[in-house]
């Protein structure tokens, strides 16, 4: 079936290092991807998005890379800080007018001091 999934359920990173969270998707028709951050007790927070006609997009300390050949998406966080501790979800929208979001399973990022 179609799905958006993550490679690793947990990731532990030393404070100050870079974090890379990976995600795979199976539907080649997917054309819009989003990364969300969810802190404990809160709703998901939009981090960054990317359209399928792009392969890279940068924000503040975050970069999303899209490899359509292997249907792979990654989120890179530079100089990881304690405040980056959260669960990160990749998500997908299909179709420019569709608003339904399909969420991946999530990766918990923990920061070692």
């Amino acid at each position: 079936g179609e799905s958006v999934g993550l490679h690793l359920p947990t990731l532990s990173v030393q404070e100050g290092d870079n974090s890379i969270i990976n995600c795979a998707y199976s539907n080649s028709a997917s054309d819009y991807f989003i990364w969300y951050k969810q802190e404990s007790g809160k709703g998901p927070q939009f981090i960054i998005d990317i359209r399928s006609n792009m392969d890279k997009r940068q924000g503040q300390r975050v970069t999303v890379l899209l490899n359509k050949t292997v249907k792979h998406l990654s989120l890179q966080i530079a100089a990881t800080q304690p405040g980056d501790s959260a669960v990160y979800f990749c998500a997908e929208k299909r179709g420019s007018s569709a608003s339904k979001i399909i969420f991946g399973s999530g990766t918990r990022l923990s920061i070692r001091p």
Partner: protein, 118 residues
């Protein structure tokens, strides 16, 4: 960004009862959605709340179990009916489209309602 509030923030309910969750947005929005997040899991879309008409439900969710209202462009309710322990989850509303949307198709999420059914 849009500010979304949900009431109640949490509740503990007895099986067989019903709970109505409210979602209020500080600005008019085009789309409102309801999601369920079971413990330690990802989010699953329940339905799209349509203003002035019946909600659009995803596979596995039905109106009798999860009736939804959306009387205007800033407010929606989700009712969890005839609850069982399997309904214990976080229920979140999200919104999309409107003056406070920062980027294309961005959805904002509420803080969620944590429901425990005994």
């Amino acid at each position: 960004s849009a500010v979304i509030s949900q009431k109640p923030s949490r509740d503990i309910c007895q099986r067989g009862t019903s709970l109505t969750i409210q979602c209020q947005v500080d600005s008019q929005v085009t789309m409102m959605f309801w999601y369920r997040q079971q413990p330690g899991q990802s989010l699953t879309l329940i339905a799209t709340a349509n203003q002035g008409s019946e909600a659009t439900y995803e596979s596995g969710f039905v109106i009798d179990k999860f009736p939804i209202s959306r009387p205007n462009l800033t407010f929606s309710t989700l009712t969890v009916s005839n609850m069982s322990p399997e309904d214990s989850s976080i229920y979140l509303c999200s919104v999309e489209g409107g003056g406070k949307t920062l980027s294309y198709n961005e959805q904002f999420f509420g803080p969620g309602t944590r429901l425990t059914v005994l």
